[in-house]
C-alpha cells in the first residue's frame, strides 16, 4: 500500500475555452474534466452518472467532438475548446419568443424537439443525449431511426424513454434541416477553428 499523501500534490495549469468563455485554473492532475466543469466552473448541467464511462450522462464536446468528460483529465483539456449543455442555449443568444433555458437563452432546436416529443422524464441523462446528438446530427443531417439508435448506444436512460428520445432526434433533424435552408444557418457548435490542433 502507498503512504497517505501528507504534502499538497503538485498542481498543473489548465487554460481552456468553455462555451466561448476562457478559463484558467491550477488543478491536481487527477481531477476529471467532469468534476472540473461542475466544481471549478459551476457548470452543473454536465451530469455524472456512473463515472466510469458507461452511462454517457457526462458527454460534452471537445473541439466539436463528443467525449465522455469522466474519462478525461482536466489537464488534458488544456488549450482545447469544450462545449457543455449550457452552451446549447447561451443567455446572450438572440432568438424567437419560444421556450428559454434556465440561463435565459432560447432553446436549441434539439432541446425544442426533446420538449415537444417528451424526450425526457427525470432529465438526468438528457444533457448527455443532447451533446451526443448535436454532434451526430451535424455529421448526419438526415439519419434513419437505426442510425440514431446506434449513435445513442453509449447513452443510458433509466426512465426507459428511448422511444421518445429517438423521436426527438428525428424531429430535431427535421428542424435543423429546415433551419439550414434559412439565409443564416446556425453555426456548428463548438467546432475548433483548427481541427486536430
Amino acid at each position: 500500500m502507498r503512504e497517505p499523501e501528507t504534502i499538497a500534490p503538485p498542481r498543473h495549469p489548465v487554460r481552456l475555452e468553455v462555451n466561448g468563455a476562457r478559463h484558467q485554473r491550477e488543478v491536481e492532475p487527477r481531477l476529471l474534466l467532469s468534476d472540473f466543469l461542475r466544481h471549478e466552473l459551476g457548470l452543473t448541467g454536465t451530469h455524472v452518472g456512473c463515472e466510469h464511462g458507461v452511462c454517457g450522462a457526462c458527454t460534452v464536446l471537445l473541439d466539436g467532438e463528443p467525449v465522455r468528460s469522466c474519462l478525461l483529465l482536466a489537464v488534458q483539456a488544456d488549450g482545447r475548446r469544450v462545449t457543455t449543455v449550457e452552451g446549447l442555449a447561451p443567455a446572450d443568444a438572440a432568438g424567437a419568443d419560444g421556450a428559454r433555458s434556465p440561463h435565459g437563452g432560447p432553446l436549441h432546436p434539439l432541446q425544442e424537439a426533446f420538449r415537444e416529443t417528451h424526450g425526457l422524464q427525470c432529465g438526468f441523462c438528457t444533457p448527455g443525449f443532447l451533446m451526443t446528438l448535436v454532434a451526430f446530427l451535424a455529421e448526419n443531417p438526415d439519419p434513419s431511426e437505426e442510425e440514431i439508435r446506434h449513435a445513442l448506444s453509449g447513452n443510458l436512460c433509466r426512465c426507459t424513454g428511448y422511444q421518445n428520445i429517438v423521436a426527438a432526434a428525428l424531429r430535431a433533424a427535421e428542424m435543423l434541416r429546415a433551419a439550414d435552408g434559412d439565409a443564416t444557418p446556425r453555426p456548428p457548435i463548438g467546432t475548433a477553428e483548427t481541427p486536430g490542433a
Partner: protein, 294 residues
C-alpha cells in the same frame, strides 16, 4: 476525486515518453485515449505512480499509405479517424468493418489504435484485427526500436510483448491480397458492448474457384486473440460453400476454440456462437471474394 494521486507528465516526443517510463521503472502508465485506463484508475484498481500522457506526441499521430499498398497507422490515431478515413475502407476493409463495433461514438472519439492494442483486452476488436490482418508493430524503447508481429505480441490477458519502458509507436498493415474476401461479425447484447464472441475471417479464392487461403481469428473466446488455424487450413483446396464452411465451423468450435464462460455468456453458448459466426463469416467472405475474382 476518484483516481488516487499520481504524477503527470505530458510527453512531447516518443523519446521523452520512453525516458519517463524508464525513469519510473514500471510504475508509470502510458495515457493515450484513456478510455480503459481512466475507468480502472477511478475504481482504484490501478494506482500508477505516474501517467505519461502521449497525446501531445504528434510524431505518433499519422496515417499513411505504404508503397506496397498497405497502411501505416500511428499509435495515437483515434478510432473515429480510422472509421472515417476512405484509405482505411479501401486498403483495410476488414478493419473498417470492425470499427463501428468498438464501444460507442464518444469512446471512439478519444480511443486510439495503439492504446487498444497495447491494452490487449481479449474482448476488444483491435487486437483481434491486428492478428487477423498480419499487422507488424513498431515498439520504441530506450535502446531503440524493434518490430514485432501482432501474432507474437499478445501473451495473454492484458499481457503483451511490451517491456515496461517500451511504447507502441506504429501499426503497419501489409497490402491486401488481390481477390480476397473478408467478413467481421460479432454478437453483443447491445451494439457497442463487449462482444460475447466475434470473428474476423479472410478468404482467398484461386483461379480454379477453390479456396486458396483462409484465416479465422476470434475475440472474447480466450485470454488473447485466438486463431483457428486447423479450421482455416481445412478449407484450402475445397470448393467454397455450405458443406466446407459447416465442417470448418464445427472443427473450430469443437476442437480449436475453447472459451470459458462469463457473466454474459456460458462456455457452451460461446462455443455455439463460435460455430454459427464462423459459418456466417466464411459465407460472407466467399461472396466478397467471388465478387472480387468475377
Amino acid at each position: 476525486m476518484k483516481p488516487a494521486p499520481f504524477a503527470y507528465h505530458a510527453a512531447r516526443s516518443a523519446e521523452e515518453a520512453v525516458g519517463l517510463l524508464a525513469q519510473y521503472g514500471g510504475e508509470a502508465k502510458v495515457l493515450a485515449g484513456g478510455q480503459s485506463l481512466v475507468p480502472v484508475m477511478s475504481f482504484r484498481l490501478a494506482q500508477p505512480a505516474a501517467l505519461v500522457d502521449v497525446n501531445p506526441v504528434s510524431e505518433l499521430d499519422f496515417l499513411e499509405d505504404t508503397a506496397a499498398g498497405g497502411l501505416r497507422i500511428g499509435a495515437l490515431v483515434r478510432l473515429r479517424r480510422l472509421e472515417r478515413d476512405p484509405r482505411v475502407a479501401a486498403r483495410a476493409p476488414l478493419l473498417a468493418a470492425a470499427l463501428p463495433h468498438v464501444a460507442h461514438p464518444q469512446i471512439r472519439t478519444r480511443g486510439t489504435a495503439g492504446g487498444s492494442i497495447a491494452h490487449a483486452d481479449p474482448a476488444a476488436e483491435l487486437p483481434c484485427l491486428a492478428v487477423a490482418l498480419d499487422a507488424r508493430l513498431r515498439l520504441v524503447g530506450p535502446a531503440g526500436e524493434r518490430w514485432v508481429e501482432a501474432r507474437e505480441f499478445f501473451f495473454g490477458l492484458f499481457a503483451t510483448a511490451l517491456e515496461p519502458d517500451e511504447l507502441l509507436a506504429e501499426i503497419e498493415l501489409p497490402p491486401r491480397p488481390p481477390g480476397e474476401g473478408w467478413a467481421f461479425l460479432e454478437i453483443a447484447r447491445r451494439h457497442g458492448d463487449y462482444a460475447q464472441v466475434g470473428v474476423a475471417a479472410r478468404l482467398v479464392l484461386g483461379s480454379d474457384g477453390r479456396v486458396a487461403a483462409a484465416r479465422l481469428v476470434y475475440l472474447s473466446v480466450g485470454d488473447a486473440p485466438m486463431e483457428a488455424t486447423r479450421a482455416a487450413a481445412s478449407l484450402v483446396g475445397e470448393a467454397p460453400g455450405p458443406a466446407a464452411f459447416a465442417a470448418a465451423a464445427a472443427l473450430a468450435a469443437s476442437e480449436e476454440i475453447d472459451p470459458a464462460g462469463d457473466i454474459h455468456a456460458s462456455a457452451e453458448f460461446k462455443r455455439h456462437l463460435t460455430r454459427v459466426l464462423t459459418a456466417r463469416a466464411l459465407t460472407a467472405a466467399a461472396v466478397r471474394a467471388g465478387r472480387e475474382t468475377a
